[in-house]
């Protein structure tokens, strides 16, 4: 008599809705297919080269695909060194700037600074390359020389074939180095890192800030105990995203470095290498093997940036501040 069981709800969609859902589903699937295609095609084309040289692809330094002798040991190390220098430059800059924007800057100019940072993120990399090649190259030489003179005993800062005490020695040995490329790339990725960190810092709960201030904390004590722990995920995630961009940067690096195909651990010394610059340099090679080898290098680069990016988004998502976004 009193039938009170829950009814089954069915959604009946009209024709327009069915078409709409079909269209957007097709859009989503197309994008997925394109994206998966990029990865799998790279892997497919790379397999020829990887099959030829096998594991020595990761240990060989030279790049002579036509002689069947090629590997990414040198370029991979070069890429990582450039990215590390870039992060050393951009992490303090981005952290300081984002803290300045959220905590120190007068409220009136905050919005203006935010748009400046976002604008800088849109500046083409070739422009930074121009600046690095025509300005920074000359300006940074004395600094390089000074570092190698006083810290040359640390292997990374050593420079071969030069007497640092000789003031008339040629300075070309300090140009086109990993250090300069790293600084340019670092300045280039800083706006992106800054905008992520700023976003996270600005989400710090106002109640916790006020609690710290109310307990008599100085501004820095409040930042250290409230803002930085809250924004930890954003700092790590933003830095890793910047690292991902730095690893894949091509044109600015290509314009500055003079490529070498040996592992070059001396970051101040002329000669550097990067995977992306290698591709830009050698894509014209018409032999199928040369192209396949480049594909393998591209695949290695892509895998590396992919891991870094996934790590970054995982760190951001797991942190307290990233849970909402």
């Amino acid at each position: 008599m009193l039938d009170d069981t829950p009814r089954k709800l069915t959604i009946i969609r009209d024709g327009g809705d069915k078409i709409f859902r079909g269209v957007i589903r097709a859009g989503g699937s197309t994008v997925l297919v394109i994206m998966v295609l990029v990865g799998s095609f790279l892997a497919y084309r790379a397999s020829q080269a990887l099959g030829t040289v096998g594991f020595s692809f990761f240990t060989e330094q030279a790049w002579e695909p036509d002689q069947g002798k090629f590997g990414i040991a040198a370029v991979l190390v070069g890429t990582i060194l450039i990215a590390l220098v870039a992060i050393c430059v951009s992490l303090p800059l981005a952290l300081g700037t984002s803290l300045f924007i959220t905590e120190f800057a007068p409220r009136q100019i905050r919005g203006f600074l935010v748009s400046i940072v976002d604008l800088m993120a849109a500046i083409p990399s070739v422009v930074f390359g121009l600046w690095g090649f025509f300005f920074l190259q000359q300006a940074i030489v004395p600094v390089s020389r000074w570092i190698s003179q006083y810290f040359g005993w640390i292997p990374v800062f050593a420079v071969d074939n030069v007497d640092p005490t000789d003031p008339l020695a040629t300075t070309t040995v300090y140009t086109s180095s990993t250090f300069i490329a790293g600084i340019v790339v670092g300045i280039m990725v800083t706006p992106i890192v800054t905008s992520i960190m700023r976003e996270v810092f600005s989400q710090t709960p106002i109640g916790e800030r006020e609690a710290a201030i109310g307990l008599g904390a100085t501004r820095w004590a409040m930042i250290r105990n409230v803002v930085l722990p809250f924004g930890q995920g954003g700092i790590i995630g933003g830095t890793m995203l910047g690292l991902g961009r730095a690893l894949g940067e091509t044109i600015a690096v290509y314009m500055i470095i003079s490529p070498v195909f040996v592992i070059q651990p001396h970051i101040l010394q002329n000669g550097a290498s990067s995977v992306a610059a290698l591709i830009a340099l050698r894509y014209g090679e018409s032999t199928p093997m040369g192209l396949s080898a480049l594909m393998a290098a591209g695949l290695a680069l892509f895998t590396m940036t992919l891991i870094v990016n996934f790590g970054a988004s995982m760190v951001v998502a797991r942190s307290r501040s990233g849970a909402a976004s």
Binding site: F100, P124, A280, Y283
Partner: protein, 423 residues
Amino acid sequence: MAETKKAPASTNALVGVSRKKRPSSKKTTVHPRGEFVGIETKRTLGGIRVGDLLSILGAAVAAFALAIVLTTQVAPITGQLAFFIVWYILFVGLYALLVSIDDTKTFVVDRVISVVVTSVATLLFSVLIFVIVFVIGRGAEALPFANFYLQDMQEAGPLDPLTKGGVVHAIAGSLIQISIALAITIPLGLAAAVYLNEIPGRFSRFVRTIVEAMTALPSIVAGLFIFATAILMFGVPKSGFAASLAISVMMLPIMIRSADVVLRLVPQTLKEASIGLGASQWKTVWNVVLPTSRSGLTTSIILATARGIGETSPVLLTSGFTAALNVNPLADPMVSLPLAIFQFVKSPEPTMIARGFGTAAVLMVLVLTLFVIARWVGGMTPEKSARARTRRAAMISNVVTLFKSLSALLTPRRVVIRSKDHS
């Protein structure tokens, strides 16, 4: 001194009053009746104290003097940059010393951090502005010539002066390539972003993960992909179309990701209201979701455009290079602005380098314009745009009234004259 004298008195008064009135735990500042405590002035919170300013200035001057001694006598280094670094380190140290004379360690740390953070931000902003000024400054040589915007480089050799040749081929190429790329990415990207939000499920989560992963795709790899597939496999010539494909592959994930975030911000209540009124999903998306997020979507498209128009590496692999104007994207090489810059500065000739910088200035103006439009559109909330519409309507009606009154001013005179004639 005045403050310290006052403080205990007021506390006494406070305690006295609260005891006399009623013994409760709540204490409020009530001044005893009849006693004139003076006019209370609003205290300013924050601001800059003279002492702070003086210690910063003092530290700066002392560090300057010390840095000169250090860099010339103790450890000689050349170059303004090195001198500046030495000066800055000394400045921070001396400032800490000056503050520590008056304040405790907690305050010293706070002050030093404030100075360091502020100077780091200043450094970044000045470097970024310097990059722009440097590039535009070096390019200023080539910019005043009209032929720079009207001619291509077909006739001009490397040794020709700046009065010959220009970059119209690169400007046209950039615009054509980005238009084709947008024609591909806007429908596809918007459909995908709407899909991610409207049909949630395991598959759309997977698509979202893949798209997020692809934002890590180095642009050169996108170029390499198109180079290997479209050009080498399918025989598409090196052309503007191939370059557009490469730019699209690079722009798609960036655009979908930001559009996805914007669409997620549409209030759920709005959607439910629409569904509750009987609208279908399509009608809800078309009439509620998209109009609500219109400014955000526009911003994401424009920002992706700014990225796409400035990318060199995918274009380097796919478009080929030419010095002539080519408006057909399907055949023959087509050069774009970033690629033109890259090729110009490869030359050792000063005029070619000046042309490169000039092209960079043009490219930057283009990106800046796009960005300003994005900001302007992005700042448009529905209320704001409605207000702008009313303002526009008011302005138009004002103009109409003005014209009417003007014509009224002109015609009655004739009427008056006529009436005079008549009379």
